[in-house]
Symmetry: C2
Subunit: 241 residues, 2 copies
């Protein structure tokens, strides 16, 4: 496919996603489509045509910027619906019981900002979260993970391989996955397209290890001791996208 | 404590357990108490006293035999309450959904016959089962595991260490644990003291591995593919002990 055709297709899909409120996916598609269109424009000898393309590009960029503002707005505004303080060594908390009821059939997109995805238990926590999504969000179409890039000296492909497995698995379940690396990321955040935002001070990783390994709590994290953290959940006032 | 005093205490506890229907624990206590009493009798020079002890021992042995007959009777008789056939590659089955409702606050004792406890995933399955027990059976006092003894050439203490961790963990939760090794064991069986018996052709180990490792189903076994097996549950007609 020529890059112009490819760009056209990406941008049509971007507009479609934008219109039905799938804004995370729309943003990704706008960015990709604009990139492709740029490449094409650079190779276009006819100046009039080039100008036409640049005008179109400008329009798409404005749309993408508007989405960005909407996403950020969603993340900042709204009413607090739940606050839970977890004390050091508390037990009785798992993802389902903390925020499962906010993940529902209206959740079409999920964005997870989680800086640390480097250790086995962190990938397992991600799977735990996604299993909850697979159970509670039958209409999930798009998942965006933002995390820090990590190269283990002994096994430099480890992060790519593990996240690649997870991406492949979700895509077999018809969920489009976008993984973005941001090295300055610190805060943890879960954004659900039904209007809920979940902020946990330690993100998904607030459990102490099972001790000893083979003991109650190895699998069912309600029995696991926790690290101190706060869980704040709020709801965007303008609600579903 | 002298072995006579020790034996007396064990046998008093055995009778107490027997009377309140904790027959698995009673059986263990009778066996231990009789063993201790035997040692004491062997060292008793007074023949009249020795005869007296031997009469007592005979009584306790009869009681222990009666319990054995009751346990076996429970395992054989009763009405079928549930039959589920799991086909190869089926999904949607976890322990809770298959038999969780039969594990309740009337379950004071559990006996698990599970020949294979040798691999990591098998210990994990045992933990999964015990987590369900910890969740659903608040009055659980006694757990008996019967399995085959296993010595890994590379790590001969592995089974002992892992089962020791599990035993220690349950005992911290006030559940007495008895682990028995029987090398001829083949059949799998779960006996609950509320009168239910759960028989799964493959025992606890009817799941295929997660593939790839990091995918939905790693933690939540409802998403795991299964091996073909039958789950039959029946209830003892004379009911709770």
């Amino acid at each position: 496919m020529s890059s112009a055709l490819n760009a056209k297709e990406l941008l049509i899909r971007a507009v479609e996603c934008d219109q039905v409120g799938r804004i995370l996916e729309a943003q990704t598609l706008y960015t990709e489509g604009i990139g492709q269109l740029m490449q094409f424009v650079n190779g276009e000898p006819d100046e009039a045509k080039r100008k036409g393309f640049l005008t179109r590009i400008k329009e798409y960029m404005d749309r993408a910027d508007a989405i960005k503002a909407r996403i950020n707005g969603k993340l900042m505004l709204g009413e607090v619906v739940s606050h839970v303080s977890i004390d050091e060594n508390d037990t009785g908390f798992d993802y389902d019981q903390l925020f499962g009821k906010y993940m529902d059939d209206k959740t079409v997109e999920i964005m997870l900002e989680e800086p640390y995805m480097t250790q086995n238990y962190q990938y397992q926590n991600l799977i735990r979260f996604l299993e909850l999504a697979a159970t509670n969000c039958p209409n999930l179409k798009y998942f965006r993970l933002i995390t820090k890039e990590y190269k283990d000296a002994k096994n430099p492909d480890q992060q790519e391989t593990n996240l690649g497995q997870i991406k492949g698995d979700l895509e077999r379940r018809n969920v489009t996955v976008c993984i973005k690396y941001e090295d300055s990321l610190h805060d943890r955040k879960i954004y659900l397209s039904n209007g809920y935002i979940i902020k946990i001070g330690r993100g998904l990783h607030f459990y102490k290890p099972a001790n000893p390994m083979y003991s109650i709590g190895l699998v069912n994290y309600k029995f696991r001791k926790c690290l101190q953290t706060d869980v704040d959940i709020w709801r965007n006032s303008s609600a579903a996208s």
